[in-house]
Amino acid sequence: MNTVTLTLKKVPELYLECEQVTPDTFAGKTLDQIAGITGYHGKEMPTMGEYFTITGESGATAAETKIVVNGDCTKIKYLGAKMTAGEMVINSACDMYTGAWMKGGKLTVNGDVHSFCGLAMAGGEFIINGNAGNYLGAAYRGDWRGMSGGVLRVKGNAGSDVATFMTGGEMIIGGDVDIHLGTHMEGGKIILKGDANRRIGGQLVKGEIYVFGTINVMLPGYKPVGEVELEVDGTKAKFVDYIGDLGERHPKRKGETVYGHLYMKK
């Protein structure tokens, strides 16, 4: 695997939108060609070369290309968005849409990310070694297809509306979340190591949520049905099994109603 290293030269005055910074776009390109790729800065279309020092070499394909981004990326959007293969490491906090619509490969952010990251993620591995903002792994506005595959791991806390309309894949949050986790979920798995605020699993059709900490207010649509011993993300523990959201529709399989499950660690 070849590595291209981008080092930010100057912090953008507005926000810099870099949808093209992915292994998919960089693959097979020379450093000059990469430097010539444009982003958006408001209505300006600056080249990557204007903002980054670019070194290293890209691979022939996305899968053979690794991108390392250094410097203060807090005002950069869309890093790693839509990547399908290869690897990206961002050694900074970054802004919105990081890893959004990601389909494959591995994306690591060594810092915090803002909202709408991992939006509608379909595959690959996305690791956030910091805190995440709102709408992590959620669906784009209006879409009923949120995160559908892959693994999204947050070391710290995440904001509100995490995993809205999730249909598949796995999300692990090391810290706490704010309101509305897994709203409208229709598949997939969320593991929350810390505490949740309120409205967990509202309007949930299908899927599993594991909570190691506490929930501020449990929704009336959840009902405990027993206790189970489970191994969740490497931890063996006893959980109380709640089914729900009982206010929502649920599919039937072989005549049996399939409920969502909310497992609360005892």
């Binding site: 926000y15 209505k43 309120r198 409205r199 309007q203 009336p220």
Partner: protein, 441 residues
């Protein structure tokens, strides 16, 4: 001799009453009387000729005072600001005509701006919810003619839409509702015992911020599932009782307002209310409607809808693409994060209605405010351009809260020399073209 203008449309709230009668002076310059309007509507018409109304643009000086400038100077200054700015917020539009909006959008597309309307701090939550789950709704006449269960949830029409209850929702007698109020059961759900609650047959006091939980309980009860003893302060028995009564409705309707859109969870409160409405359609007929605030905020959403496919917060900053993401391209977020470098306000007053931190951010950027009157925003702007009062001094299309379009009427002449929004925007657009052709950007 003074004359009466009938069937006038009130340009205040989303109820868009169209039965106002205005008495106008012989010279078509002064409003002498207003009939049928509510207190707010009447005030709006009467305020048209306030003494000392500004009739020429004003530019803020270094010492903080304002100096009168010509329309041409103001237009030139505005166009230059728009062409220079790499990303501009063009916010407002809720109190102007659809025709004016159209011209504004063209300017935004040419100069790379974000067009956002007052829904952003009002029913934006409702629009997100509708984007997520749709909405079963109806026109207000359907409510008048058919509804026998009416729920006001987190809205207070007695204060915000004063004639709503008499024209459409509580009192009128319609085709299938010959008994008027007597034939309807009115519920009000709120955290306060509002004046609307006082008109209701039943008031359900919900703990502030617990609407989502209560709606979740309603849906759970509707499916016959068990509930905790109380939800949001409402006893379980009450919830079951209400849900059973709603299922007995022939035609039910939920009206909701900012009690839902502004409280914790925002869009999800509406989203789940819509889902309750949808559930009720398995038993009977049910509709739900947002009590839209500004008289033509709905129109702005419509025009943006047919031109770009998004109802508000439309980001045209790239000039070759339209994008929309509430939380990113919404005015308050843009200002909070200083994502824009110039502000253009039209037909609105964010200075009065945005949280202060957003306005502090705004006040540090070049700002133009277009409004008939002096307001909070004009006084922190670099340039205030006065215009004619739409719906009073110039007509134009507006959309009612149920999306019914109504052409507003001109009843009196604007003050001499004052441009309309359409005229002003057309001139700005032309000047922008000249600057771009001259190599602006």
């Amino acid at each position: 001799m003074p004359k009466e203008v009938t069937d006038v449309i009130c340009p205040f709230c989303g109820t868009l009453c169209d039965d106002i009668v205005i008495t106008v002076s012989d010279d078509n310059k002064t409003i002498l009387g207003v009939k049928n309007a509510c207190a707010i509507g009447a005030e709006k018409f009467n305020h048209q000729r306030e003494p000392g109304r500004v009739t020429r643009p004003r530019m803020r000086q270094a010492d903080g005072t304002f100096k009168e400038v010509s329309y041409d100077e103001a237009i030139d200054w505005t166009a230059k600001m728009l062409v220079k700015s790499r990303k501009t917020l063009m916010y407002g539009w809720a109190s102007t005509s659809c025709q004016a909006m159209s011209i504004g959008h063209e300017i935004a597309e040419k100069t790379g701006a974000i067009v956002d309307n007052c829904a952003t701090v009002c029913h934006g939550s409702s629009l997100i919810a509708i984007e997520d789950v749709g909405v079963p709704s109806c026109t207000l006449g359907e409510v008048k003619n058919r509804a026998d269960r009416v729920i006001f949830w987190g809205c207070n029409p007695a204060h915000a839409h004063p004639r709503h209850m008499s024209r459409y929702s509580i009192f009128p007698r319609g085709f299938f509702t010959v008994k008027g109020h007597k034939g309807r059961k009115i519920y009000c759900v709120d955290c306060r015992y509002t004046d609307t609650a006082k008109c209701a047959d039943e008031f359900i006091q919900v703990q502030q911020g617990f609407d989502y939980e209560l709606l979740n309980a309603f849906r759970t009860a509707a499916r016959g599932e068990a509930l905790p003893d109380t939800v949001g302060g409402v006893p379980r028995e009450k919830i079951y009782e209400i849900v059973e009564d709603l299922k007995q409705a022939r035609f039910g309707v939920i009206f909701f307002g900012m009690g839902l859109t502004h409280s914790m969870g925002r869009n999800h409160n509406i989203d789940i209310a819509i889902n309750l409405t949808r559930d009720m359609n398995d038993y009977t007929k049910f509709a739900i409607m947002a009590m839209r605030g500004h008289w033509n905020v709905t129109g702005s959403g419509q025009v943006l809808g047919w031109q770009y496919g998004f109802p508000y917060a439309v980001d045209l900053s790239r000039r070759d693409q339209a994008r929309h993401q509430t939380g990113e391209t919404t005015s308050v977020d843009l200002l909070n994060r200083s994502e824009v470098e110039a502000c253009f306000y039209i037909a609105t007053d964010p200075g009065a209605h945005f949280p202060v931190d957003a306005m502090i951010s705004s006040s540090r950027k070049p700002t133009v405010t277009i409004d008939p009157h002096i307001n909070c925003t004009t006084e922190i702007s670099d340039l205030h351009i006065p215009v004619a009062l739409v719906g009073v001094e110039v007509g134009g299309c507006a959309y009612r809260m149920d999306n019914v379009p109504i052409e507003t009427r001109k009843v009196v002449e604007p003050p001499e020399g004052v441009l309309t929004d359409e005229e002003l925007l057309t001139k700005i657009s032309k000047r922008v073209d000249e600057l771009i052709a001259g190599g602006g950007t």
